[in-house]
Amino acid sequence: MAKNQSIQKGRGAVIKKNFLRNWQLYLFMMPVFLYFFIFHYIPMYGVQIAFKDYFATLGIWGSEWVGFEHFERFFSSYYFWRLLKNTIILNLYMLVLFPLPIILALAFNELRNGAFKKWTQTLTYAPHFISVVVVVGMLVAFLDPNTGLINHLLRALGMDTIPFLTSPDWFRHIFVWSGQWQTLGWSTIIYLAALAGVNPELHEAAKVDGATRMQRITRINIPSIMPTIVILFILNIGNFMQIGFEKVLLMQNTLNSETSDVIQTFVYETGILEGQYSFAAAVGLFESAINIVLLITVNQIARKVSENSLW
């Protein structure tokens, strides 16, 4: 700190000098900077419609201010608690499965470069490239009460069929596990990259000392990729309330909406379909507020506990 202050005077000059010396680097940064500024910061002025009664012909600035009216309406709405509960439970469910790709990556890492390793990796990546619409189509094809494969099987075994698609109890499991099936392999990539960076000398030394495979995984591999795990966890939290909303919408029907009705589908319904822009903006803003609070909290905790954090 003290050192910093002593050079305070020359600071402006230093920055200028740095800038001029490295202007190529700043030029490289420019497109990304512009992208964020134009597409993520400028549109923020539109957030004000959450506090206004937005009307298209009056424009964003011209519409009338109504304060927190839309928020009050949302909080006192019959569906508020259901939406909040469903959104949180669905996300927690997905968060609980956060370690799965780590385990898979550790397992892949133990396979030594055979054809088998390449095959299994490719197989687990493949579903990532299927569009959500197709995945839901596949779910319907497998789970339909009359024509679905699974229910055919259940019938053949003499059991009762299960209305997977219309049951609120099944919705979360189907949603989360089909999502895992789709993304599990893909999510291992970043961990595998981190594992590739683990110093082989550590392993050799451990082998000499007679460490078992399991011990080497828990004592060397996991601690080495811990920073990556923490950062990815924090980033995951940053997206906490934003579940793949298209998929929820595609899987939703009146019978399972008790568990499938989430904030994002609600925003789509009221905002885009019913044209209540201001109300939908207020609901969306509420969701973002929760996100940012969670992100900051988790980041703070991570910094205290593991000394790894986003900032």
């Binding site: 319907v140 698609l165 219309t166 029907n253 009146t254 019978l255 009221t270």
Partner: protein, 538 residues
């Protein structure tokens, strides 16, 4: 030197980006001010002397997928006749609400909206803010055909007049006694199976239950794959049966609303009525015993058609079977009328008002010539216009045989594996897009096919006398409808389906009623009552 250039360019990019972003707001000043009657002829054709270009936002239904409205016989003919060149901005129904609301939300308005499924809430909202023009005077002056129809049938004016006294749209209409069209999907049973079971056409809810049960036991498809009742949507069944249990006694245009049978000055939210409960009990019984397709809540249209083509259904509510499933399977079906319910109710309530939809054409503030646009639309409320829209051009798409308009041979018997509908869509656009007025004399489609006409004749004596159009509401009432109303209707729909499947026990009826009351039923009831009182006194 290079550095300076870099700063200059970076600043330039930055500033122009900023400018581009903020520029949208002040761009749309009033260009439509000049809207006047200068360039319009009061009667006859052409409508305008100088060619007029209009951009119209339209819903383009799936049946019209393959054609281009900007270059098709009907619109080319009408352009040459009127000298008004419509530039169609057509959107498929899946993306309709989204695109329309984005157009409205961004203020980038077309000259008019054509069958864009604008709700009465939207009409009033945008109308009272000046984005949609009030058409009262224009209709008086430039729409003689529509005016004549309105004088003849006061329902039309009631359906399109808002509490502020303004009319913001021109409606699409069905000739009052063209019943077959107002019925849309109607009930059918498989008569071959009835004969096999030695049963008569069901006439009571009890008969219907017995028939479905017998079909399930008979299992003509084999392997337990027979589906006694199937449909694309459970609501069709609910609406049809409502006539057997005495609810929805004024049609389906106003969600869950009908007239109180004990006091005809009051409206009733019938989803809390005992009769409604009784109906749900009956449907639940059917579902519980596997007589209703277990996938009816999730089934897609395509899957339904595939099942029907495999002849899996014992009964259904759908459109003309022969037209859709072919002669072999379609001809097995015979139509049903209304069933007599346990308390003796027997009426057919599932039909639309003669006002098919109020929002056939909505004119926006951007329109350069509203008077000409009104005249453009009004033609379709007369005989000549109806003939042009639904039959096309004589000698090209239809012929007159014994005084009746009949489609030409190349449409009725298209070449190759083209269907009737595909042949129509090559020249005409009315499929799924009901515009102006449909008259039985100038219409030839699935609804006028012999099987469907026969069904309509059978149903006719049971049809309810009065079918309400959608009511209109004030701004304040709309606020309540959008919050409390939407919440309650959503809850009622969810609970209806749960009661039917048994996910929710009908013993919990009392708590269902209680929840609805807590959600603000009383307030909603007042809104509906006020709207009804206005409707009666208008």
């Amino acid at each position: 030197m290079l550095k300076k250039w870099f700063f200059f360019i970076a600043t330039l990019v930055f500033v122009s980006a900023l400018y581009a972003c903020s520029g949208g707001d002040d761009g749309d000043s009033k260009e439509g001010e000049a809207a006047g009657g200068d360039n319009v002829n009061a009667t006859g054709f052409p409508i305008v002397e100088e060619e007029l270009e209009l951009t119209i936002f339209a819903n383009k239904p799936a049946q019209n997928e393959g054609n281009d409205w900007n270059d098709i016989l009907i619109w080319n003919t009408y352009r040459d006749l009127t000298n008004i060149n419509v530039n169609w901005n057509s959107v498929s129904p899946d993306a309709l609400e989204e695109n329309r609301n984005l157009a409205l939300g961004s203020g980038d308005l077309p000259d008019a909206f054509f069958l864009a499924e604008l709700s009465n809430t939207d009409l009033l909202r945008y109308g009272s803010q000046g984005a949609f023009l009030p058409l009262n005077d224009l209709i008086d002056e430039y729409a003689p055909n529509l005016k004549a129809l309105m004088e003849n049938d006061p329902t039309i004016e009631k359906a399109i007049t808002f509490p502020d006294g303004n009319i913001y749209s021109m409606p699409s209409l069905i000739e009052d006694d063209f019943l077959s069209l107002r019925l849309s999907a109607r009930p059918w049973v498989n008569e071959d199976w009835l004969n096999e079971l030695d049963m008569d056409i069901p006439e009571t809810t009890g008969d219907f239950y017995e028939y479905l049960k017998a079909v399930k036991e008979l299992d003509p498809v084999g392997n337990g794959d027979t589906i006694p009742y199937g449909g694309t949507d459970i609501a069709e069944l609910v609406q049809w049966l409502s006539g057997s249990f005495g609810v929805m006694n004024h049609g389906a245009s106003n969600t869950n609303l009908d007239l109180d049978p004990n006091d005809d000055s009051k409206v009733r939210y019938y989803a809390t009525a005992d009769e409604y409960r009784e109906m749900l009990e009956y449907i639940h019984m059917l579902y519980e015993e596997g007589l209703i397709d277990q996938s009816i809540f999730t089934i897609e249209w395509g899957q339904f058609l595939a099942n029907a083509s495999d002849n899996l259904y014992g009964s259904m509510i759908f459109y003309d079977p022969i037209e859709l499933f072919g002669e072999e399977i379609g001809s097995q079906y015979n139509s049903l009328a209304a069933l007599e319910g346990p308390d003796g109710h027997q009426s057919y309530n599932k039909l639309s008002s003669s006002v098919w939809t109020p929002d056939n054409l909505v004119i926006t503030s951007e329109n350069p010539n509203p008077a000409a646009t009104v005249r453009w639309m009004d033609h379709f409320y007369g005989d000549e216009g109806a003939e042009l829209y639904y039959m096309g051009v004589e000698g090209e798409t239809f012929e007159i045989e014994d005084g009746e308009a009949v489609y030409s041979d190349h449409i009725l018997n298209p070449e190759g594996d083209m269907t009737f509908e595909q042949a129509i869509a090559q020249d005409l656009t009315w499929l799924g897009s009901i515009s102006g007025i449909i008259k039985a004399d100038y219409f030839q489609g699935g609804e006028t096919a012999p099987q469907s006409m026969e069904a309509a004749e059978k149903i006719e004596p049971q049809v309810i006398d009065e079918v309400w159009p959608r009511f209109t509401f004030t701004e304040e009432e709309n606020r309540i409808l959008q919050s409390t109303g939407e919440d309650i209707n959503k809850y009622v729909e969810e609970m209806r389906d749960k009661f039917i499947t048994g996910d929710e026990d009908l013993d919990n009826w009392d708590s269902y009623i209680q929840t609805i009351e807590q959600m603000g039923m009383e307030e909603l009831q007042e809104v509906y009552q006020a709207a009804y009182d206005r409707y009666q006194s208008n």
